[in-house]
Amino acid sequence: MKTLLCLLLSTGLALAEEWKSADLRPMMGPGEGFQSTTLVTAGYAFIWLLVLAFVTSVWLRSRRIDRELRALEESIADPSRVER
């Protein structure tokens, strides 16, 4: 029984050393979770909001050009109808 306990203990200690030294790193540094998370979220959200605003702006400008093109076509077809 003593031998078994010693074996389990030594295996456990060896595994603990292995985990400590290798891949099992915590995802966040000690004592700095909330503020770091806020900064990362704020930075990433800012980038995506700006990109979405840019895409929306391009889309709206593209629609305006389409409207102007239609107005030009109408004015060519019937010059008396559209005056600018």
């Binding site: 891949d23 000690p30 102007e68 559209v82």
Partner: protein, 232 residues
């Protein structure tokens, strides 16, 4: 229909990037600092910050290339490339200028250091391209030439921004950061860089398509007016 298709592809790519890239990057293990402890979680900003700065620099050179064509050959296509790229310099430059201080607050304890040459030259670069857009918007006839000059001036500033850490003592780390990346940082870093480069490409072609549409409309309006087909 063509425009709707383009916007559909753009939105789909944005959505994929919106889900995949942050999932990978935020789940990647944190690298260790010189003391052997994991870095602060704010280190994740590095992946976005460097990628958007890369897109801003790339866009500066694209804008400068278009401007050279515009100046040398009065090429409308070159002009369209230049103005599309200039808008993206402002977008990605602003992202760089916002994400940098967020990281600096955690890493250095301050939002901004006016004595840091890299920060200040990056701000000057961004203002230069903001000026480019103002000149194009309100400069009237001939503003293309002046704006092209501004774009070339901005392109000269890029090597100064990049090399400033070698010539002056700054808060930014000296040396080649990308070359000396921790192995845990390599995969998320390159993935992020690739994703943002694709994003840049999509946004650039959307904006370029818009500018070419605008130029064609202006040409059609002039032609119709010259031919007496419309009354203005």
């Amino acid at each position: 229909m063509k425009r709707d298709g383009l916007f559909g592809i753009a939105i789909a790519l944005l959505a994929v990037a919106f889900v995949l890239v942050p999932s990978w990057i935020l789940a990647a293990p944190l690298p260790l600092n010189p003391n052997g402890l994991p870095m602060a979680y704010a280190q994740k900003i590095f992946y976005f910050h460097v990628a958007v700065a890369w897109c801003a620099f790339l866009s500066v050179f694209v804008c400068a290339g278009g401007s050279v064509f515009q100046l040398a050959k009065r090429s409308p296509r070159g002009d369209a490339v230049a103005i599309a790229a200039a808008e993206l310099v402002v977008v990605f430059g602003l992202c760089t200028l916002v994400t940098g201080p967020l990281w600096a607050r955690k890493e250095w304890g301050v939002w901004w250091v006016w004595k840091d040459v890299r920060l200040v030259t990056m701000l000057i670069l961004w203002i230069t391209f903001l000026a480019y857009l103002f000149v194009r918007r309100y400069g009237g006839p001939g503003s293309e030439q002046l704006a092209s000059g501004l774009a070339l001036f901005g392109a000269v500033n890029v090597p100064i921004v990049y090399l400033s850490v070698f010539f002056w003592r700054t808060q930014h780390p000296q040396g080649k950061v990308v070359g000396s990346l921790d192995p845990a940082m390599r995969a998320p870093f390159w993935l992020s860089l690739a994703a943002f480069s694709i994003l840049y490409g999509v946004l650039f072609f959307l904006r370029l398509h818009l500018e070419r549409q605008r130029q064609r409309l202006a040409e059609a309006q002039l032609a119709a007016q010259d031919a007496g087909l419309v009354r203005w």
